[in-house]
């Protein structure tokens, strides 16, 4: 997924390195070095998403976000900051950020999160009570899942993991994203909990035959084929 991104970052070295890496991941990146420049850029051209540093000269990141939201600009925003305390995260999210990522972050992680947000915006949530990816159907309301019409017996966490994969089919999900969304913990796991659960899920999904629908994206995370 190629996105047109605005990277707002006052640290030239960091901005250049991140921009180059993101470009390497097929994105188009425009760099703004302070809040005022960022607001001007957003006004002059449409962006798919904004990566916003919190501590910026002239107009700080929180104010930029505030002005965007006050001006009914719904462009997805990921806050990327060195301030990683829980209260600061909550502040960022309450101000209207779609995600809050603490520095440093791998470009691949950032790219995956951006893609998930942009896609998530497009996905309407659907009026039907089931979601589908390939031959896998999940009913979040009934806590049940089928592959090719056959019910799959899943534990609660395995079910949540599958539902997250299906809802974000064709989008790379990083381990950190899965921990936040499936396990509901904000702390970084030092265990391989995601890998273990994915392995269990794969066994159950392929028990009745069929190709493994989950793709491992090396060094980043996993993706379900749509």
């Amino acid at each position: 997924m190629s996105l047109n991104l605005l990277l707002v970052e006052d640290d030239a070295v960091f901005a250049q390195a991140m921009a180059e890496e993101l470009r390497g991941l097929d994105h188009h990146v425009t760099v703004a070095i302070d809040g005022r420049e960022a607001l001007a850029a957003v006004d002059s051209a449409p962006f798919d998403a904004v990566v916003l540093d919190r501590m910026l000269p002239k107009v700080d990141g929180m104010s930029v976000l505030q002005r965007l939201r006050d001006g009914n600009m719904t462009v997805p925003v990921i806050m990327l900051t060195a301030l990683g305390r829980s209260v600061e995260k909550v502040e960022g999210l309450e101000a209207g950020a779609d995600d809050y990522v603490v520095k440093p972050v791998a470009a691949a992680e950032l790219s995956a999160r951006l893609a998930a947000i942009v896609r998530g915006r497009g996905w309407t949530g659907s009026s039907a009570d089931t979601i589908r990816a390939g031959d896998i159907v999940v009913s979040p309301t009934r806590f049940r899942a089928w592959r090719d019409g056959t019910a799959i017996d899943l534990g609660k966490l395995e079910f949540k993991l599958l539902a997250e994969f299906v809802a974000n089919a064709d989008t790379v999900m990083t381990r950190a994203m899965l921990v936040e969304r499936v396990w509901g913990y904000e702390f970084a796991p030092t265990t391989n909990i995601v890998d273990v659960y994915v392995r269990h899920l794969r066994v159950k999904l392929t028990a009745a035959g069929g190709e493994d629908p989950i793709v491992t994206v090396r060094g980043v995370g996993y993706m379900m084929r749509g």
Partner: protein, 445 residues
Amino acid sequence: MRFRSLWTLTGAFLLAFLVATMATGFAIHGITLQTIERLVDRRILVVSDAIAGVPGDRRPADVFRRIDAAMRERDTGDIGLLLVDANGRRLGGNIALTRRLPLGFSTIARDDRIAGLSAGRALVRTIDGGMTLTTVAETEPFDDYNAARTRIYLIGFGSIVLIVVGGMVFFVVTIGRRIGETRRTVEAIIDGDMTRRVPIHRSGGEFAQQAMAFNRMLDRISNLMASISNVSNDIAHDLRTPLARLRSQLALTRRRADSPAQRDDLEAAIAMSDDLLAMFAAMLRIAEVEGGDQRAAFARLDLAALADQIATMMQPVVADSGRTLDIAALSPLPIVGDRQLLGQAMVNLLENAIRHTPVGTRIAIGVVATDTATILTVTDEGPGISADQRKLALRRFGRLDASRHDVGHGLGLALIDAIVRLHRGTLSLEDACPGLRVLISLPRD
């Protein structure tokens, strides 16, 4: 004897005061009565002697004459006299008796029905010829004087006691209220509200001065805390930013690297910077937990259910590592705390158990309640930690020799300890014979 509270101290003081007051009252009353009695006794003895006369001057006629004279004299007109013969027949005098009084001194009261007498003393003696002379005098300046005096004592001493008791109660309540105000402030501050201060009363007395000094101390602590917090925020930004820069530079260099060997080397360098950043994140996390602000987000939760949830979540991870996890059957144990942090502590404990035990080890998690505490235990049957190394294990960056080359940054237990202390609990390590038992003891409210 130790006085544990203001009230017991006051109670003891009041008791001592009451005993002393009552003893004084009774002593004064008793000594006064005794003195009056002695004086009256001496008086009636003198009168009795005078009437009885000396041997040889005791013919009935002489005695009668002296009785008459005594009754007429101003000095002795109030003295009661009675002379009876050997058969108890009345010979003369100015009183009548309803009972036979014993020889010698005795006390008479209203019951003896001597007209105009409510309390007095009597002296009975025999005179030659079988006659008996009874001399009676009042011990009260007016009727019912003793009862009146008791009333005076009760009213006088009683009002003193009331004033003292009232004063003490007022004193204790006032001091108690001031101490209570200070205590409530301290508790609020312990719970993370650094803005609370002790109210200052306009009186400007000792308490107000104490409160002002206390508040100044709190201002100072609060300033220090704010500057420490600023310092750590600065560290967060100032150190994280160059580290992030280093990491992105390494990542960029890796992208541009020509050979796979260079890429691998740079991959290793990135992993090292990630370790450094993880250690840094853990330190900041500990600082965040120790800040105490998080207590504001405490909510009621079931520790047993949380342990069960975490254990169920970690079960596949433990099984995957070739170890087994036992979950004790748990009944609900409500506590007040932070679900995220306690969950993190449990996950970290289970990770430690996996990391520091050989494959095949049994690990168990359980929650029990005692009268005073709710205790979470994570037990493994691994090699354990020797008694002298346990203290070191709890220290920040305290890594034991055996694990010095393993992954991890030595902050796991320090973070757990910070979380436990935030919940006003204690973290301890025990020998599980064999293996290690980690106990998190949280006080019950």
